[in-house]
């Protein structure tokens, strides 16, 4: 028992496959999530998220029209996005490290490679609740910090930039 009040969450599930959406929604409802919203592609998700302002978004990568990757970029950078900080969990059949990097570079917080397992979905949800990463804004990127681990032992020069500012 973790004591999470999942019933307070509103989750948007984006996948072009209706059966996969049903499976994801079933898992979320079993966790206790009361409010789930579904979208079958990136375009509909964009409309839906502006209407519903979800707390978390689970999104597929490859969809007709706007892909999950494009949607992630749009959520992070479009001024019309209601919440550019909303946690994004990418759920995809892609499994290579290249794809994980691409998702990360689009501003995705967490990555789930199919097959979908309830424990993995829970683990990623807990991760975005308990271990949110700081956000980074550069001229070419806005989204969660792409460095997974803080390296307190590192004693070399700052590698990100000479002019980094940390905002409280």
């Amino acid at each position: 028992m973790s004591g999470y009040r999942f019933e307070r969450l509103k989750v948007l599930a984006v996948d072009d496959n209706a059966h996969m959406r049903k499976l994801v929604v079933t898992i979320l409802e079993a966790f206790g999530v009361h409010e789930t919203v579904e979208a079958e592609n990136g375009d509909r998700a964009w409309t839906s998220l502006r209407e519903n302002n979800p707390d978390v978004i689970l999104l597929d990568w490859m969809m007709p029209g706007m892909s999950g990757l494009d949607l992630a970029r749009m959520i992070r950078t479009n001024p019309l996005a209601p919440n550019p900080f909303v946690p994004l969990i990418m759920l995809t059949g892609y499994t290579s490290i290249d794809h994980v990097r691409q998702a990360r570079d689009a501003g995705v917080n967490e990555f789930i490679a199919k097959p979908v397992a309830a424990k993995t979905v829970m683990s990623r949800l807990v991760s975005v609740i308990e271990h949110p990463r700081p956000f980074v804004r550069t001229s070419v990127y806005f989204g969660p910090c792409r460095r997974r681990r803080a390296n307190d032992e590192y004693r070399g020069p700052e590698r990100r930039t000479e002019t980094e500012q940390v905002v409280e």
């Binding site: 999470y4 009040r5 966790f31 199919k114 309830a118 975005v128 956000f135 409280e168």
Partner: protein
């Protein structure tokens, strides 16, 4: 060389934690068990669900066979990629493996290069047979041999083709 714009690093307020609470943290195993039971309840429909994904692959393959073209190829890639993810989740691991092999062929063969029709057809027939025969055991020797053969032929085809500048090679899909 100095960047034009300074990098800003900041921690947004954790609205999610504020909303769901959860002082104990960690994975809620009781909730996971409930979700697994709910998935088990759905599992009787998995074969039927997968049939719909297979039909999507068959349809996109038929369109590509007639019309060729990047759009049709991209649609077939999406169908194969979907099938890979869905089949793995819906307890048809060998269908997932063959669909993954087909996705690799469609995704990594350079866009201007003609797909080998026999190899694509062999993948489509293989997933149909594995599903029809309800082969779910990854150790099934016949299915394993078939998968290994398809994998090998895809590897050979890709090795003979010039390298795609876009490693992921998807004609239009993101």
């Amino acid at each position: 060389m100095a960047r034009q714009q300074p990098i800003e690093l900041f921690m947004p307020p954790n609205m999610l934690k504020a909303k769901v609470g959860g002082g104990l943290g960690g994975v809620d195993m009781a909730a996971v068990k409930r979700a697994e039971a709910a998935m088990e309840d759905l599992s009787g429909q998995f074969s039927e669900w997968l049939a719909a994904d297979l039909k999507a692959l068959v349809d996109t393959h038929a369109r590509y066979a007639v019309g060729l073209g990047d759009d049709n190829r991209a649609a077939m890639l999406r169908a194969a990629h979907d099938l890979k993810g869905q089949a793995a989740t819906f307890d048809f691991p060998l269908v997932a493996r063959v669909a993954g092999s087909l996705s690799r062929l469609l995704g990594e063969l350079p866009a201007g290069r003609e797909l080998p029709p026999g190899l694509v057809e062999a993948h489509v027939q293989a997933v149909l047979v594995i599903h029809r025969e309800n082969i779910r055991d990854e150790a099934n020797p016949m299915a394993r041999t078939l998968c290994a053969e398809l994998d090998a032929r895809v590897t050979k085809t890709l090795a003979a083709a010039p390298r795609n500048p876009n490693r992921n090679g998807h004609p239009t899909a993101g």
